[in-house]
C-alpha cells in the first residue's frame, strides 16, 4: 500500500520569544495524516497541542512566535514557506479549523447565513443564490433543523452545541482535505458532546476528510480517533494506533495519564495515581527526557542520555527508554 499522506509534518519547531527567554512550544514534531483518518493529539495545558495546530494553519503570530524549522506539506505541496495571500487561499478551503469556543469564532453582529456564504463565495466563487443553497445544505448536513429559516439568525440565538455545529458547517463548506478540531467539545455538556463526536466521525467517513482531533480528554480520544499522538513539553512522546496506545502504553507519561484518569467503569475503591510535580519550564534546552523529574518508571539510562524515538511495534513508537510491557493489558492490542 503506497498511499501519500494528505498532511505531512516533519521536524516542526515553533518558538515564542518571551520576557523569560525563548519558549520551545513545539519541539521537533513530526507526523503524517492520511485521508479519512482521525488523528488525536492529547496532552495537558502547555504541551504544545494547539501551537502545533496553529503552526499547520500558519496562524502563529510573528512576533513573538516563529516557526523556526520544519516542513509541512499538504498533498505533497509545501504550505509552510508560502506568503500570506497563498496561506489565505488554503485556510478555510483546504484546511479548516474549529475551536473550543464557537461564540468567539463567530461574528456576533452578522447572521449565520452571511458568515457561511462569505466563506463559500470567497473560496468557491459561487454567486449569492448558489452560495445560499450550499449554506442550507451544509446546515442540514450538520443536523441543524429548519436550516432555511435559521440562516437569518444570529449566533446568540443558537445554543452552544448548535453553534459548534454552525462552526463545523463553515469549516466543511469548501470540503477541506483536513479538519483540525481544537478541544471542539470541551465546553459542551456530555450529551451534546456525544452528538458532535457522532457528527465528526460520520463526516470524516463520508467525505474522506482527514481530522486532527486535539483534546485533553482521553475518553473522547478513545472514542473518536484512529491513531493518537501524546504530547509533553512540546514533543510527541508516543504515537500509535488508538488500541496500541491505550492497551500497550509505552511512555511513562502516557501510563501516568491513564493512571490518573477516573473512569466511569472503575472499581469502586480505585485510588487514582496522580503524576506528581508539574510540567517543565520550556525555556532553554533540555538534555534529558522532559518527563524525567515526574516519572516513576525511570531507569538508569534515562539519567544518562536523552530518549530516542524507538519503534515498539509496527506503527507504534515512543520516546522512552523504560520497558513498560508489564503494565500492558493481556491479549492482542
Amino acid at each position: 500500500m503506497n498511499v501519500q499522506p494528505v498532511l505531512s509534518v516533519r521536524g516542526l519547531d515553533t518558538r515564542f520569544a518571551t520576557g523569560d527567554g525563548v519558549v520551545h512550544a513545539v519541539d521537533h514534531v513530526s507526523f503524517d495524516l492520511m485521508a479519512g483518518e482521525v488523528l488525536g493529539i492529547v496532552g495537558e495545558s502547555g504541551s504544545g497541542k494547539s501551537v502545533t495546530a496553529l503552526s499547520v494553519m500558519k496562524l502563529v503570530v510573528c512576533p513573538p512566535g516563529q516557526v523556526s524549522a520544519g516542513e509541512i506539506t499538504l498533498d505533497g505541496e509545501d504550505i509552510l514557506h508560502i506568503d500570506e495571500a497563498q496561506a489565505r487561499r488554503i485556510r478555510g478551503s483546504r484546511i479548516a479549523m474549529i475551536f473550543q469556543d464557537p461564540m468567539k469564532s463567530l461574528n456576533p453582529v452578522l447572521t449565520i447565513g452571511r458568515q457561511l456564504t462569505e466563506v463559500i463565495a470567497e473560496h468557491l466563487g459561487l454567486d449569492s443564490q448558489a452560495s445560499r443553497q450550499r449554506a442550507i445544505e451544509l446546515l442540514s448536513a450538520v443536523g441543524i433543523p429548519r436550516a432555511e429559516t435559521r440562516l437569518g439568525d444570529y449566533p446568540h440565538q443558537f445554543s452552544g452545541g448548535m453553534r459548534q455545529r454552525v462552526m463545523i458547517a463553515i469549516a466543511l463548506s469548501c470540503d477541506p482535505r483536513v479538519l483540525i478540531a481544537d478541544e471542539a467539545t470541551t465546553a459542551l455538556d456530555v450529551t451534546i458532546q456525544a452528538q458532535i463526536i457522532d457528527l465528526v466521525k460520520r463526516l470524516a467517513d463520508e467525505r474522506d476528510t482527514a481530522v486532527i482531533w486535539i483534546s485533553h480528554d482521553l475518553g473522547v480520544v478513545a472514542g473518536i480517533c484512529d491513531r493518537v499522538a501524546v504530547m509533553y513539553a512540546g514533543r510527541i512522546v508516543e504515537m500509535g494506533t488508538v488500541r496500541d496506545l491505550f492497551h500497550r502504553p509505552s511512555h511513562g507519561y502516557t501510563l501516568g495519564l491513564l493512571a490518573s484518569t477516573p473512569r466511569l467503569d472503575d472499581a469502586e475503591d480505585r485510588r487514582l495515581q496522580p503524576i506528581d510535580g508539574m510540567p517543565p519550564n520550556l525555556t532553554g534546552p533540555m538534555s534529558l527526557c522532559p518527563f524525567l523529574p515526574r516519572c516513576v518508571h525511570a531507569i538508569d539510562t534515562c539519567h544518562e542520555k536523552p530518549p530516542e524515538w524507538r519503534q515498539v511495534a509496527d506503527g507504534h513508537g515512543t520516546r522512552c527508554w523504560a520497558d513498560l510491557g508489564r503494565y500492558w493489558r493481556d491479549g492482542d492490542p
Partner: protein
C-alpha cells in the same frame, strides 16, 4: 439512616429568578425556575454528588444552601437547625461550619493578599486561633501538601493545582463540618485533578468531613461520592447510592447521561451502547410541561406532558422521578 446521621437536609428547595431585571413590571415578569422543588439529605461523614448538565440548577442549589441567594424558598436543615429563618448574626456560626470551594480558584482568592494573609482572614473573621494564627496557617498549608514558605507568595505565582490547594486550606481553616465543592477539579489537567481528588478523599478520612460535591463529571463523582443526586432543569431525576447508580440507573436521563460519558478505552467505546439524545436543553424560563425531560426522552409517552413525575422509591435508598418505571 437515622435522623442523627443526617448533617444536611434540603426539602422542597426552590430558587426562582425573576426575568427582565430592573425594567420589568413587578409581578408581571416570568421567572426562571432554576431550582424547582429539590429534596435530598446528606449523611454525616459522607460525600454526596450533585450532578447534571449546564443549567440543571446544581450550583444554584449549593448557593441556596449557604443562603448566598435571597430568592429561595423551602427548608435547609443543618445539624437539626433550620437555616432559612435565621438572621445574619445567628447565621454566622453556620457559615463557619459550612464552607464552599469553587471551580476558579484564582478568582476566589484576593490577588493583593499573600497566601498567608488569605488563609488567616477566615480566622480573623470568625475570631479563632487568636495567638496561634501563623502556626495555624503553616499547619493548613501542610494539610494540603504545600510548603510553609508559600505563606509569603501571592496567587499569581501559583499554578492552578496549587491555587486549588490554597482554597481548600482556606475552607479548612475554620474547622468546618460540611464543605460544598462546586466543580473544584473541572478546570485542572487530569494529572493535577487526580492529586486534588486524592487530597479531598484523604482530608475527608482524616477530619471526618462531609462533602456536597457539585460536578458535571460522572467519572469524578464515582471516584469520590457515596451517594449521587442527578438533576435536570431544576428538578431531581434520580437519587441513589454509588453502587445503585453506576450499576443500574433507572431514569432515562441518567441512562443517557451515563452512556454519553466517554470511557478511556477504545474497545469499550467501540462496543458500548450509546443513547444519543436528540435536541438541546429547553430554556429554564419556559420548561416543558409535565416531565421536564420529556422533549428529549427516548421513552416519553403522551402522559409525560401532563403528569409531573414524583420522586418515588424504586429500591432501598434509590429514588427516581419517572412515570415509565
Amino acid at each position: 439512616m437515622t435522623r442523627q446521621d443526617i448533617l444536611l437536609e434540603v426539602s422542597d428547595l426552590k430558587v426562582h429568578f425573576p426575568v427582565g431585571g430592573m425594567w420589568s413590571k413587578p409581578g408581571a415578569a416570568k421567572s426562571v425556575r432554576a431550582v424547582d422543588g429539590v429534596n435530598f439529605a446528606v449523611e454525616r461523614g459522607s460525600a454526596l454528588g450533585l450532578v447534571g448538565e449546564s443549567g440543571c440548577g446544581k450550583t444554584t442549589t449549593g448557593m441556596a444552601i449557604l443562603r448566598l441567594l435571597d430568592t429561595s424558598t423551602g427548608l435547609v436543615t443543618f445539624d437539626g437547625q433550620e437555616l432559612s429563618t435565621l438572621d445574619a448574626a445567628a447565621l454566622r456560626p453556620y457559615r463557619r461550619r459550612i464552607q464552599i470551594i469553587f471551580q476558579d480558584a484564582y478568582a476566589s482568592l484576593n490577588p493583593r493578599m499573600s497566601i498567608g494573609d488569605g488563609l488567616a482572614e477566615p480566622l480573623v473573621i470568625h475570631n479563632l486561633f487568636h495567638s496561634r494564627r501563623q502556626e495555624r496557617v503553616r499547619q493548613l498549608l501542610d494539610m494540603v501538601g504545600l510548603p510553609g514558605h508559600f505563606t509569603h507568595r501571592y496567587p499569581h505565582e501559583l499554578s492552578g493545582g496549587q491555587l486549588q490547594r490554597v482554597t481548600i486550606a482556606r475552607a479548612l481553616a475554620v474547622e468546618p463540618e460540611l464543605i460544598i465543592c462546586d466543580e473544584p477539579v473541572s478546570a485542572l489537567d487530569v494529572s493535577i485533578q487526580a492529586q486534588i481528588i486524592n487530597l479531598l478523599k484523604d482530608l475527608q478520612r482524616d477530619l471526618g468531613l462531609t462533602y456536597l460535591f457539585i460536578s458535571h463529571d460522572l467519572s469524578v463523582v464515582r471516584n469520590l461520592c457515596d451517594q449521587v443526586v442527578v438533576m435536570y432543569l431544576g428538578r431531581v431525576t434520580e437519587i441513589a447510592s454509588r453502587r445503585q447508580l453506576y450499576g443500574g440507573a433507572v431514569h432515562p436521563y441518567t441512562k443517557a447521561l451515563m452512556s454519553a460519558v466517554p470511557i478511556p478505552d477504545p474497545d469499550v467505546e467501540a462496543t458500548r451502547e450509546r443513547v444519543i439524545l436528540t435536541g438541546d436543553l429547553p430554556s429554564p424560563s419556559d420548561p416543558p410541561s409535565g416531565c421536564r425531560f420529556r422533549t428529549r426522552c427516548p421513552i416519553a409517552i403522551d402522559e409525560c406532558a401532563e403528569i409531573v413525575p414524583e420522586v418515588q422509591e424504586v429500591a432501598d435508598g434509590h429514588w427516581a422521578a419517572c412515570i415509565r418505571i
